[in-house]
C-alpha cells in the first residue's frame, strides 16, 4: 500500500471511530445529569416556597418529561448546534461556551506556554545531567509542584504577589472599568485589546493573566518534567546518539539536536493528554482566581442544578479532549509511519 493511502485510511478510520466515542460521551453526560438529584427551581426557591408550589412549578417547566423523550431531544439539539438556554439565568449555552470558553482557552494556552518553558528546560537539564543533584533537584521540583494542590498554591501566590507585594492583580481577566470599556469581538482579551488598539487593556490583561497561568502551568510542568527527562534518557541511549558521540559531536549538540528532537515526539503525544489534566486544573484555578472560564461556570451551574448548562459545558469539555487527542494522533501518524493502521 502506498504511504499516502495508508495515511488517508488512518485519518478516515480515526475520524469514524471518534463518532461512537462522542456519542457515548454525550449519552453519559445526559444520563449523569438526569440522574442527579434535584432541579434548579428546588435549589433556588426551596426553603422559601412550599414543596407543593415547587413541585407545581417544576412540573410546569417540564422537568418530568419521560427520559427517552428528553434524550432524543437532547441528541437532536446537540447535532443542530442548539445547546439550549440555561434554566437559572436565561443564557444560551452557546454564549457561555463562546464567552467563558475563550477565557478558559486563554488561560490554558498561557498555562501551557509556562508549562512548556519550565517543563522542557528543567526536564532537559535533569535528563542530561542524570543522577546528579541537578537531576534530583529537577525531579523533586517536578514532583512537589504537581503534588501541591493548585488551589492552595494559587492562593499563596495571590497573597504574596497581590496582597503583600501588591505587584499583580488577583482576580478576573481585567479590572472592572477596563472590562466595560473593552470591545470584545473574539472574547480573547489579548487579541481584542490589540485589535481595538486599547493598550491599557492589553497591559491589564497580561497582568491579570500572569498569576493564574503560572499557577496552572507549574502544575502541568511537573508532569512534563518527568516525561521529558525519561524520554531524553531513553533516546540518549539510542544507537544514533552513540554514533553521533562516536563521531565526536559535542555533548551539548548531541543532546539538543539529536536526542531532543526525537524525545519530543512522545512528549507531543503526552502534552496532548495533559490537556485533560489542564482542564481539570483549570476548574480549580478559575475558582481561586475568579477567572470567568468554563470551569468556574461549571461548578456554579452544578451547584444550582442547572443541568442544561452543565450538560453543555461537560459536552464541550469532553469534545475538546477528544478533538485534541484526535489531532495528536493525526500528527503522530503523519510523523511516525509505524503508527498507522
Amino acid at each position: 500500500m502506498s504511504r499516502k493511502g495508508s495515511l488517508r485510511t488512518y485519518v478516515l478510520t480515526r475520524l469514524v471511530l471518534a463518532i461512537p466515542t462522542v456519542l457515548i460521551l454525550l449519552t453519559m453526560v445526559f444520563l449523569l445529569m438526569r440522574v442527579a438529584p434535584g432541579n434548579p427551581i428546588q435549589v433556588a426557591l426551596g426553603g422559601h416556597l412550599s414543596q407543593q408550589e415547587i413541585d407545581r412549578r417544576s412540573a410546569e417547566a417540564g422537568y418530568d418529561k419521560p427520559i427517552l423523550t428528553q434524550y432524543v431531544e437532547y441528541l437532536g439539539d446537540v447535532f443542530t448546534g442548539n445547546l439550549g438556554t440555561t434554566l437559572t439565568d436565561h443564557r444560551t449555552v452557546t454564549s457561555i461556551i463562546v464567552e467563558n470558553g475563550s477565557a478558559t482557552l486563554e488561560l490554558t494556552i498561557a498555562a501551557m506556554l509556562v508549562a512548556l518553558v519550565v517543563g522542557l528546560t528543567i526536564g532537559i537539564l535533569a535528563g542530561r545531567f542524570r543522577d546528579t543533584p541537578i537531576d534530583l533537584g529537577g525531579r523533586l521540583f517536578g514532583i512537589v509542584v504537581y503534588a501541591a494542590p493548585v488551589f492552595f498554591v494559587g492562593y499563596l501566590l495571590q497573597l504574596l504577589f497581590g496582597s503583600t507585594l501588591g505587584w499583580l492583580p488577583t482576580s478576573g481577566r481585567v479590572g472592572p472599568v477596563t472590562e466595560y470599556e473593552l470591545d470584545t469581538t473574539t472574547h480573547l482579551y489579548l487579541i481584542d485589546s490589540l485589535i481595538s488598539g486599547n493598550f491599557n487593556a492589553f497591559e491589564d490583561t497580561v497582568l491579570h493573566l500572569i498569576l493564574p497561568a503560572v499557577t496552572l502551568g507549574l502544575l502541568v510542568s511537573g508532569v512534563l518534567i518527568r516525561l521529558v527527562r525519561v524520554n531524553l534518557m531513553q533516546t540518549m541511549r539510542g544507537d544514533y546518539v552513540e554514533a553521533a558521540r562516536a563521531r565526536g559531536v559535542r555533548e551539548r549538540r548531541v543532546v539538543l539536536e539529536h536526542a531532543f528532537r526525537n524525545a519530543l515526539i512522545p512528549v507531543v503525544t503526552v502534552a496532548g493528554l495533559q490537556f485533560a489534566i489542564l482542564l481539570g486544573g483549570a476548574i480549580l484555578t478559575e475558582q481561586t482566581f475568579n477567572w470567568p472560564g468554563l470551569g468556574s461556570e461549571l461548578v456554579r451551574y452544578l451547584n444550582e442544578r442547572d443541568y442544561i448548562a452543565v450538560q453543555g459545558i461537560i459536552t464541550v469539555f469532553a469534545l475538546a479532549v477528544v478533538l485534541v487527542s484526535l489531532m495528536i494522533d493525526l500528527i503522530n501518524a503523519f510523523i511516525d509511519p509505524r503508527v498507522r493502521y
Partner: protein, 520 residues
Amino acid sequence: MSHVRRLGIAAVLVAAIAAIAAGCGSSGGGGGTIIRGTTDQPVSYDPAGAYDLPSYDVIYNVYQNLMTIPPGENKPVPEAAEKCDFTNPTTYECTLKDGLKFSDGDSLDAKDVKFSFDRNVEIADPNGASSLLANMKSVDAPDDKTVVFHLKKPDATWPFVLTVASFAIVDDSDFPKDKLQPSDEVIGSGRYTVASYKPGQQTVLEKNESYTGDDPAENDQAIVQYYDKPSALKLDVENGEVDIAYRSLSPTDIDSLRDADGVSIVEGNGTEIRYLVFNLKLQEGGSDAQKQAVRQAVAQTVDRAAIAKNVYDDTVQPLYSMVPQGLQFATKAFAEKYGESPDVNAAKKTLSDAGVDTPVPLEIWWTPSHYGPSSGDEYAEIKNQLDDSGLFTVSLKSTEWTQYSEAAFTNKYPEYELGWFPDYPDANDYTAPFYAKDSFLNISYDNPEMNKLLEQEAATTDEAKRAELFKKIQDIGAEDVPTVPIWQGKQVAAVRDGVSGVEDTFDPSFIFRYWLITKD
C-alpha cells in the same frame, strides 16, 4: 533553536514583564463610578423573572415601583404613584404621578402598570414571584393615571407587596407579555439604565438622565462585579479594585478588614434571619405536651449571644422573635418568656415537669453550602451547647442543599436549620409563612388561635390593632415554639475610605440604593 537564544528570549520576556509590573497600580473607578463586588449572581433583570436578592439589587435601581420603602424606614410610601389607598377592604386604588417616563422616552401610564402585573401572572416564571400575587383577583387601568387592584381577601400587606421588585413597572411597548425580556435589553423608568450585562462577570449601570423621580443618582455609573469566592473579593477590596464589598464576606474576612488600611466596615440592621425548625410529627416526645416541653427546653438552653460572638464575630445579633428588630410590630417574645441568656435549670424543670427523660436525643440537620460554611460552625456550637447542658444528646447530620430543601419539607427531618429572607419588610412576612396551618414548613403545626390572629392581622390596616395582634402572635410563637429564632443578620459591607452613603441604604427593606453612594 539554540540554548543561548532561548535563554535570551526568556530574559527579554522577564524584563518586559517586570517593566510592566513596575508601572502598574490598582484600577479603581473614577470619581463618578462606584464599583461594588459581590458573590451573589443574579437570575434575571426582567422583574417577572426574578425572586432573588441579586436580581432585585439591580431592578430596584433600574425601575420604579408603585410604592417603595424610603431609606432608613420600614413602611411603604408612594413612588411612581402619587397616592394609594384602600377604597374598600378588597379594592386598592393608586393614582400615578404626572410626567413619568421610561429611559427610552416612552411615557409611563396606568396601562404599563396593569401590563406589568398581568404578565407576571401569565408568564408565572418558575424563578419569579407570581405566587405573591395569589390574592390578586384582577387589576384594572380605567384611565391613564389610575390603577385599581381587586383582591380576593382583605390584605393589609398589599401596599408592601407593591414594593417588591418583581412588581416593578415595565413598558408595555418594549416587553413581551408572554415571555421574559433578555437581561441586557431591559428598559425601566428608574435612576439607572443597564448599560451592559456580562453574566458571571459584571453589570454596568449608567445614570438615567431622563429620570423624573426624587433623589436622582449622585454618581454617574455603578459597576457590580461578580466573584466566585469571598476570599478573592476580600483581596480586591483591600487592594482597591472595588470600592464596596457587600455580600458575602466571611466573619474572618470581616474581622481582618476591620484592621486593614484604607477600608472600614459599615454595619446596619438586617432582616435576614436564621432559625431552627421542629417537625412536630417527627420530633422527640411521647405526647404533644412532652414535645412542646422539649421545644421549650431547647429555646431555654440555646445561647444566642455565644453563637453571635463565637461563630459570627458579632456580625449577627441574637434574635428573640421570628420577627426581626427593625420591623414594625417586632417584639422580643422569646426574651420576655425565657430570658435573654440561657437558663439550664429552667429547661431542666420544663422537661421534668412534663415527664420527659433526659438526655433527650435530638437529630438536627443542617446544610453546608446554601447558608455558607459558617452554618456548620453554628450547628457545631449549638450541638455543644445542648450537649453540655446535660439535657440533650445531639446528633448532627448534613446533606447538600438540593436534597436538603426537599427532604426538610417532606417530613424527613425532625429538626433542621433554615434561613429566611423577607419578600417585604412587614411582620406578616415573618409570621404567616411559619405559623399558619398551611405553612410551607409542613411541620404539622396547627394552632387555631394562631390561625385566627393571622387572618385578622392581614385583614386590618389599623396599626394599633395590628400591633396588638402581632404581640399576641409572637407570644404564642414563643409558647408553642414550632421554630426557635436564633439570629438576625446585620448588613455588613467593607467600604473603602472616601466612599460614603452605604450606611444610609442599610435598612429593613434590603434595597441597595446605588444612587445614594458617593466617592471623593
